[in-house]
């Protein structure tokens, strides 16, 4: 295992991307970053710019309006990076599946931008912060 890979696992900086969510997942993500769950134990830190990010926490089914912004944002992120689909919407678009404005799911959108992208999912509507920690740690162990 190379040193930089090890470092990437030990210090994933996350950037919060909301792609037309209903905000429940976002509230849970913000809960996750409070002192109570202390994600700094795993080196996880919220950063303000996608340039610094190693992991994009994406919530919501992707719709037409945010798609160009997400493509731009994914290109701005320094690689290697991991895309986390947080919540059932990012996973399967749930009840918005047949909606006229939905272009998701997330993995299809991301694979169109970058075929080699690393994508991980945390299901739940919304997932608990504990589930997100478990998901992020498990996904990073497989790197």
């Amino acid at each position: 295992m190379s040193l930089t890979r090890w470092a990437l696992k030990k210090s994933p900086w996350v950037y919060h991307v909301a792609l037309s969510p209903c905000n429940n997942c976002d509230i849970e993500i913000l809960d996750l970053l409070t002192p109570r769950f202390d994600v700094e134990r795993f080196g996880i830190k919220l950063v303000g710019s996608p340039r610094h990010a190693d992991a994009l926490l994406v919530s919501g089914s992707v719709n037409r309006h945010v798609l160009p912004r997400f493509i731009e944002l994914y290109k701005q992120t320094a690689k290697p990076c991991v895309v986390f689909g947080i919540g059932s919407c990012a996973l399967s678009m749930t009840m918005f599946r047949d909606s006229y404005n939905t272009v998701g799911p997330l993995d299809k959108v991301v694979k169109e931008i970058d075929p080699n992208a690393i994508i991980a999912y945390v299901p739940g509507c919304p997932p608990k912060p504990e589930a997100m920690i478990l998901g992020v740690v498990k996904a990073l162990q497989t790197l």
Partner: protein, 311 residues
């Protein structure tokens, strides 16, 4: 002569690396103490190293419309200035008899270089957030440098116009610490606040302001250049408390147990910085400027006058 020159260069590099290691330890202490204050467990000991290694292994992105060379070289210049400052200070602490008259002045100049390099880099990145951050950083430098310089002038006056770091340490070994006087105590607190602003920590993290400026001056940096900026900040975190120990608290003696005593003095200053950082909200740039040019500068002038009266 040439051999001696090479040896000096090697010594300087080793000292700079030692200061970097000290900075990494300090950075971990900072984060751990912060975590304990917030009733958390906090990061493991290797966290600062992992952060830097990770950034070194990532991709470097140069934004469209950025001045490519200036953007990429600015962090290198900042790190070069910082490393030289660290080597100069460490050299003066390890062997006080070596050094030259006026190295305090050189050190003060070198310590501004990282901030100026950041401003240049941010301005070259072509990002509006970075531009706002750069303008704030510039104002902040104007703010904190004035009282900072007056306090350093006070210290120089108190030690009988010695412009050599080694001599300042030796004078204090003979006459007692500069801290043990009214002007010394005032100077200590002013240096502490200026260090806070120089390090870009709360309450003076206005140029980086994560919540409003998305990182401000460092918004567009990614990968290795960001790692260089982190290294510079880490070294600064070690150099500023060390400078305070040197100027006011009798320096660090490298003989047996006195190293521990020196480290304790250093640690007290670091913990004070962390406590200030964790118990204050961020101020606005105009408030910061008013604060530094108003009460703080007035206090520093009072400290100088008190030092003139021998207090």
């Amino acid at each position: 002569m040439a051999v001696q020159g090479i040896l000096t260069v090697i010594k300087f590099v080793v000292i700079a690396i030692a200061i970097l290691v000290l900075g990494l330890i300090t950075s971990w202490i900072d984060r751990k103490v912060t975590a304990r204050i917030q009733a958390r467990v906090g990061p493991p000991w290797f966290q600062p190293i992992a952060d830097i290694l990770k950034l070194l292994g990532k991709e470097t992105l140069v934004p469209e419309g950025a001045g490519r060379n200036v953007f990429l070289y600015a962090p290198v210049i900042g790190l070069a200035g910082m490393a030289l400052a660290a080597a100069l200070l460490g050299n003066a602490l390890i062997s006080p008899e070596v050094g030259f008259v006026g190295d305090v002045v050189v050190l003060v100049y070198l310590l501004v270089i990282p901030a100026i390099a950041l401003i240049i880099g941010a301005s070259a990145s072509g990002n509006p957030m970075a531009a706002v951050g750069a303008s704030r950083e510039m104002k902040l430098i104007l703010g904190y440098e004035l009282p900072y310089l007056i306090v350093i002038a006070t210290v120089i006056y108190k030690t009988g116009f010695t412009l050599k770091l080694g001599d300042i340490v030796e004078t204090q070994a003979l006459d007692g610490w500069n801290l043990w006087s009214i002007s010394g105590v005032i100077g200590f607190f002013i240096l502490l606040l200026s260090a806070q602003a120089k390090l870009g920590l709360v309450p003076f993290d206005i140029p980086e302001a994560d919540q409003e400026l998305m990182g401000g001056v460092i918004t567009e940096y990614s990968g290795p250049p960001l790692a260089l900026i982190r290294i510079t900040k880490t070294m600064l975190l070690a150099v500023l408390p060390l400078l305070m120990v040197t100027l006011l608290m009798g320096g660090v003696q490298f003989e047996g147990l006195s190293i521990l005593w020196g480290f304790l003095k250093y640690l007290v200053i670091v913990v004070l910085i962390v406590l200030i950082r964790n118990t204050n909200p961020r101020v606005r740039i105009d408030q910061a400027l008013k604060f530094f040019w108003g009460p703080v500068t007035a206090l520093s002038i009072i400290a100088f006058i008190l030092a003139y009266w021998g207090l």
